[in-house]
Symmetry: C2
Subunit: 524 residues, 2 copies
């Protein structure tokens, strides 16, 4: 380890001295405690982090996009420099394989550089210019110009299943910093060491780029105490979260109970329905089963986009099921992220198996070791599926429920599903055209529609929507992946009759930043 781990929070540029131990990193499977002990931020330390964030906001939000981009790029470089430390510690505390840790580090630095490019270019602020017309009748028209401005300090919760890409310097932090918002991170108990390594990288980058103290803090804390304190703190203006439905709805309740309610962007739970039409089976049931099994078991099923619900025609699909059964039975158990997730997986699959009408099609014949999860597939008729609301719930891990019914029954059930991150449809092009109302129903329930593919594999780009109607996310108007994620942390502000020099550069007559603007005086 290049820099020794201290086990304390980052309060702006300083390290906390909080003395209440809140736990160790734990090695999945063995349960071994990993040094050092981590310590909760004290209420005074939380207060100091928030005060620093509030103090940093005016200066930080006034920086140019180019300067903020410099910070993001420096963070990416520092993280790359720490990748061996990340892998070393990540292997111990997350149960993830090395390739995944390196890949996720790459995704994280890629995200930081994507947002850097977006704010360097600058057009994302949606600048709108309408010039004065003093001669307009019956009343003169004033000069009015608007653009997006940052909301203020943002609380970011690290995700258990993405120790890098949705944690300390992950997508929420990167998009909030890009927007001009200071970030206060609440570390996750499942990977405190990786959090500390990445936090050190961010702080080094903040120093190197001369950022005001307080744009970034990381708090450790026992249970939900520290997180609730940050969400309820008057300085906090928005919340980013990826995790369980109970965790997300608790944050929503906390945010709504404030004297000033604030937006919560919680990405919570999704079973990512997959609809298989007969024509897709005709193309080859075994190949379809293999592709599905690959998506189901990717990352031991611990992705938000894991396909946990499949609608299969009642009258077809025998070979698909037979192949899937053999794949699952031969499936290898995988190490899960932590003991709590492993236990939840065991509990939820047991509950599904015990639900009347649910048949256990297959479970892995290989014994799962301590901390491991093994693939499982359940089958139910659409009638029994509708009788038991709990069957819409998530089995977080490599398990799925196959629901069999007629095409009419499947179309009728889609609008009754909860909101989802994704919905996939496997069909021929002709079937897709013929089933426009089924596709529209799927569109009404999801943020991303996938044709002849599976939902895992979330491209980080400008057209990605990784969001969806509640409870997939708390706010289906947003995405937590891709360049649109920056819009979560902004609001529009208009300037009326301001002299040119007093306007933000984005709105000045000469367009000194050369950005795309809505300006009727300048043809697009």
């Amino acid at each position: 380890m290049t820099t020794p781990l201290l086990g304390t929070s980052f309060i702006g540029h300083s390290r906390a001295t909080g003395t209440e131990a809140c736990g160790f990193g734990i090695q999945p499977g063995t349960g071994t405690s990993l040094e050092p002990a981590y310590h909760s931020a004290t209420p005074e330390e939380v207060e100091k982090a928030m005060a620093l964030a509030a103090a940093a906001f005016p200066a930080y939000s006034a920086l140019s996009g180019k300067l903020r981009a410099g910070l993001l790029r420096a963070i990416a470089t520092e993280i790359e420099g720490a990748v061996e430390d990340i892998v070393e510690r990540g292997l111990l505390e997350t149960g993830l394989p090395e390739a995944r840790l390196r890949g996720e580090t790459g995704r994280t630095t890629g995200q930081l550089r994507m947002f850097a490019s977006q704010i360097e270019e600058g057009s994302w602020v949606d600048a709108r210019i309408e010039r004065a017309d003093p001669d307009r009748k019956p009343i003169p028209k004033v000069d009015l110009r608007s653009m997006l401005r940052p909301l203020g300090p943002v609380a970011v919760f690290c995700a258990s299943n993405f120790p890098l890409a949705f944690s300390v310097a992950g997508g929420d932090t990167a998009s909030a910093l890009a927007a001009g918002c200071p970030v206060v991170v609440i570390a996750h108990a499942a990977h405190p060491g990786v959090a500390e390594i990445v936090a050190n990288a961010v702080i080094r980058a903040a120093h190197a780029t001369g950022m005001p103290e307080g744009i970034f803090s990381v708090l450790y804390g026992g249970g939900r105490k520290v997180g609730q304190a940050v969400v309820k703190h008057p300085v906090t203006q928005a919340v980013g979260f990826t995790g369980s439905r109970s965790g997300g709805t608790a944050l929503m309740a906390a945010a709504n109970s404030r004297p000033q309610p604030i937006p919560v962007y919680a990405e919570m739970s999704s079973v990512n329905p997959v609809v298989i039409l007969p024509g897709a089976l005709d193309r080859g049931e075994e190949a379809l089963a293999e592709a599905f099994f690959g998506s189901l078991t990717l990352g031991v099923g611990q992705f938000c986009t894991n396909p946990g619900l499949v609608f299969l025609p009642a009258e077809k699909g025998g070979a698909f099921l037979t192949k899937l059964k053999s794949l699952v039975e031969a499936g290898t158990p995988g190490m899960m992220l932590n003991a709590s997730i492993c236990q939840s997986y065991a509990d939820s699959t047991a509950a599904f198996a015990a639900t009347p009408g649910v048949e256990t099609l297959a479970r892995s014949a290989n014994q799962a070791g301590p901390g491991q999860g093994a693939p499982a597939v359940f089958v139910v008729s659409i009638g029994d599926f509708l009788k038991h609301e709990a069957l819409q719930g998530e089995m977080f891990g490599p398990a799925t429920l196959i629901v069999r019914g007629s095409l009419g029954e499947i179309e009728a059930v889609i609008p009754k599903l909860e909101g989802q991150l994704t919905a996939s449809i496997h069909a021929t092009t002709e079937e897709l055209a013929a089933q426009a109302s089924l596709v529209q129903a799927l569109q009404g329930r999801a943020g991303r529609l996938i044709f002849n593919g599976f939902p895992t594999g979330v491209e980080v780009c400008s057209s990605m929507v990784h969001g969806g109607p509640f409870p997939a996310t708390s706010d289906g108007r947003s995405t937590s992946v891709g360049t649109m994620a920056i819009y979560r942390f902004c609001r529009p502000v208009a300037w009326q009759s301001f002299p040119d020099a007093a306007l933000p550069a984005e709105l000045q007559d000469a367009n000194p930043l050369g950005i795309r603007r809505m300006d009727p005086a300048v043809p697009a």
Copy 2:
């Protein structure tokens, strides 16, 4: 009256038969009841309106922007055809003068046509296209395209202070219909007759343009019962509201208590602080007082943007106050919108006058008749202002509070103000440049900043932001005026690997609608 008033709700294309009377239109001042009696929608009628809205959504949201624009233009034309009826009834039930009723009708039809133009042109959907790259390493890149889609049926509450522009076919309805959302309007008890006239116009337009039944209903209801039922109904996907803080926060609580929380866009209360710097006084204190008085008393002070709070340098401004005193004393009382608003105005001005440290600078010397409100100005030191939080509250009507302090004290108090729709600063250009941190503090508290002007007069255009941090609005990320208002009722959806013909026209390769898109294959 061209079409006789029936006093019943509009349930899609039918009229309700609800038998529970919920009141009459009441003439402000006289208290005279205006025929006919209005009747609450029954729970069954509410259910039917919601079911029709749900049934209409798939077909309506699938219509092209051009077809939806046809509806909006037809509504505008029908409203223009009903303007004499609107004026006749409006004069009786709103207390507003004829010029205002005609002007507001024009604003309403203008808004409808503005949204029609926006959706006819079509680029507002933010189409983003990223094409597949099968050769990308380490994994192929999928084809991914996204655009905004409507949320679903929207509940729109009529506003007491805008019987046309923020009521049955006002900005919320126009932007929701433009986005592709059916609308269920909850009429306001203060102008049920105008609501019925406008609703008839909308229904005629819906028939003429062949719209599916259920895209539009108008419900009358006693108290808050019908409104709460609509907000809590599972079909409703968003809420638009302009009114009191208590009303708006009640809707927020109802929306958050649903199994599926939904966004509420409530524009609630704002005192629209005006900061006057010494240089602005040096240019002419009397002229400034006259301009301020004009804004303060416009529409008997019943605009959301009424300037209810002024920060004036302690050491200057004597002539400003003297002039304002004489204007207020000579000021004419005006008919207020209804008895409840008139009583609230009397109560709030009395409470301000009785607050320790508050001096009543002037009240109109002219006796206010029944239902009327008269101008009033109060003065307080910044120290006493800070001691009494209630002085940040709204006196809805032509009254204002002038707070006197040093420039340093004024700058220090700005971040402590609640969120506002607007903030105005009167200064020389040099002062504005010198007070950058004061301006930034104001920007942090408001949606629109005004230089050397007053907040009344809200331009309906593409750069308007009529929104602001809570409690000015429930969601400061939005505006309820201008073309950006359409974004309140949408969410992004992505299509992955869809065949071209199965994509919405906005996302097809050939760009058949000719809209602006984010498409790296086509240089901007």
